[in-house]
Amino acid sequence: MMSGRVIETRKATKHYVMGDLVVKALRGVDLTVTRGEFVAIMGASGSGKSTLLNVIGCLDEPTSGTYLLDGVDTSHFTRDEYAEVRNQQIGFVFQTFNLLPRTTALDNVELPLFYDRSGRFPDPKAAAVASLERVGLGDRMHHDPSELSGGERQRVALARALVNNPSIILADEPTGNLDSRTSVDVMSVFQELNEQGITILLVTHEPEIAQYAKRIVVMRDGIIVSDRQVWDRRSAARDLESMPSADEPVELEAQRE
């Protein structure tokens, strides 16, 4: 923490054994991320981006190599300690949202607090409401995921990732299932959170989305092949203003009826 290195992987590998075949998803990844960074991870399909993010998110363990989270070596962590890290330090956002069905946005966001043992949240409901308001969904709290648009669902997932005040947010293709305008909209929320000091790692296929990050890491065949700062960084909030509003055609149709 003192060094400012929140994430540090050293020669991290991940092998999947499938019968006789060994799939080497990660083949020695060295990645260091300091506090307050906004990293976009890019690369072809199958290059190991998700695998890396899962290792960083303590959802999966590396086969070899070390992973230091906040300067702490995680290799000897127990299952419960991994759970604790996921609960306290990391917020995860998935491409497929992974919200509980038939469960309101509010209850979904409150979920991580059920498993909070730190006692930091005496009023989980209030924390969940605050988190939803933070992503601009204060008025949709009592809707089920099935009643929300894709962008709104991803905001709920973001609110859930944020509710425990994590220092790191990991997002695996959070805009993969969204149209371009909604993608930019969601990216504006990420940028805002990053402004507030949260470290963000985001996997994406789209170069335009990566332009909202501060740093771009490119992977190929399980290793990092390129790592550079973004010099022409864009602001999602500003881009959003110049984009045509998604509501307009709908309004026209409504008038015609």
Binding site: L59, F94, F114, D116
Partner: protein, 406 residues
């Protein structure tokens, strides 16, 4: 450990979210528990019923019938030759020490006229000891005495059914009736034994002195059978031997010759009936146990499907920081809540069913607390086991694998 209140909240939310599945799961428990309780209750009730019917037959009763007990050679079957007489009865009355009472019995069908109608019934000639042997009580008037027997008096004691048929409105005691045209005076009535054992209406009877029955009504010299009471149920077998000895001597049977009479005792009936009833209770219990097991398989099926179908949910929970133990306890709590709920409803349903059976069909199932407890416990155990086992499998998964599960 998480707060129990939070665990319960998580479990209840899970259950309410899947109302239909929860209902189906509990249905298995409900049906299983209720059927075991009711079925075993019916068996136990029937057994108690038969036992009380048998004891209403009389007190430590022994019956002696004429005829060979074994069908050897030329014997033409039970009762084909009549070899019991009132002398036999007198001999037993004088000599037997293990008997508290003995009575001959002569049975004739008769047309009875009197009071407001006429009625076809069976008339039994018996001794004054008869009511004590057969556990009859006098409703009104009195039973005839030894003098009436000696004088072949034309007096009668009416069973409750006969009273209802002939004297629905007034007291028959002191009234005149005609049995097969012979006038008799009613001296007493019998207290009703109620719905009769083994399908026969025992109250549909008239009792007269045994001599009157023998010489005035049936006109023979042989009696149909003998009733006796052993001093106690334990002495029943010894009393039977005593009677056998006396009768063989009276009938001048040589050693090695077969008895020309048969003896049955109430103790024997009780034994037989208890045995059949136990078999029946066992059968009913087995049927019910099968239904409980089928119910258990239903629970198991739904639990397995439910946990498999919720693997993604488990993955999501693990991803946001739930520990394996949190997941286990969640599913365990859900299972326990469901099983207890199902068990409770099952017990309530069993209560309703037994009440209905009682009032509508007239059965009186005996609900045994032990059976209630074990049916309840068994169902709960099935619910817990089959909820716990697959949940454990899912909880031990890597979060990513659980999330990827399709």
């Amino acid at each position: 450990m998480l707060w129990p209140k939070r665990l319960l909240t998580i479990a209840f939310k899970g259950l309410l979210k899947n109302r239909m599945r929860s209902l189906l799961t509990t249905l298995g428990v409900i049906i299983g528990v209720a059927s075991v309780i009711v079925m075993v209750g019916i068996g136990a009730g029937a057994q108690a019923d038969v036992e009380s019917q048998i004891s209403s037959l009389g007190s430590n009763m022994i019956m002696v019938f004429p005829g060979a007990s074994r069908h050897g050679g030329a014997s033409g079957g039970a009762g084909s030759y009549n070899r019991l007489t009132l002398d036999d009865v007198d001999a037993i009355r004088e000599e037997a020490v293990l008997l508290s009472a003995v009575s001959g019995a002569v049975r004739t069908g008769a047309q009875v006229v009197g009071g407001t109608g006429d009625w076809n019934t069976s008339v039994m000639g018996v001794s004054p000891e008869y009511p004590s042997i057969r556990a009859w009580t006098i409703q009104s008037g009195e039973f005839f005495d030894e003098r009436a027997v000696r004088s072949r008096a034309k007096v009668a004691v009416l069973g409750a059914t006969v009273v209802d048929e002939l004297f629905p409105n007034d007291d028959p005691v002191g009234q005149q009736i005609r049995i097969n045209k012979t006038p008799f005076r009613v001296v007493g009535t019998l207290k009703a034994k109620g719905a009769s054992s083994f399908g026969r209406d025992e109250d549909d009877t008239i009792l007269v002195p045994v001599t009157t029955g023998l010489y005035r009504l049936s006109g023979g010299q042989y009696i149909n059978m003998m009733f006796a009471s052993a001093r106690s149920l334990d002495e029943s077998d010894a009393a039977i031997e005593e009677i056998t000895g006396i009768l063989r001597r009276e009938h001048r049977l040589n050693p090695g010759e077969d008895d020309d009479f048969r003896i049955r005792s109430q103790a024997e009936f009780i034994e037989m009936a208890t045995e059949t009833q136990q078999v029946m209770t066992l059968l009913l219990g087995a049927v019910a146990a099968v239904s409980l097991i089928v119910g258990g398989i239903g629970i198991m099926n739904i639990m397995l499907v439910s946990v498999t179908e919720r693997t993604r949910e488990i993955g999501i929970r693990l991803a946001v920081g739930a520990r394996s133990s949190d997941i286990l306890i969640q599913f365990l709590t859900e299972s326990v809540v469901l099983s207890l709920l199902g068990g409770t409803i099952g017990v309530a349903l069993a209560y309703v069913l037994t009440t209905i059976l009682n009032s509508a069909v007239g059965m009186t199932p005996l609900v045994n607390p032990g059976i209630v407890a074990s049916a309840f416990g068994f169902a709960a155990a099935i619910g817990v086991f089959f909820g716990y086992y697959p949940a454990r499998k899912a909880a031990m998964l890597n979060p990513i694998d659980a999330l990827r599960y399709e």
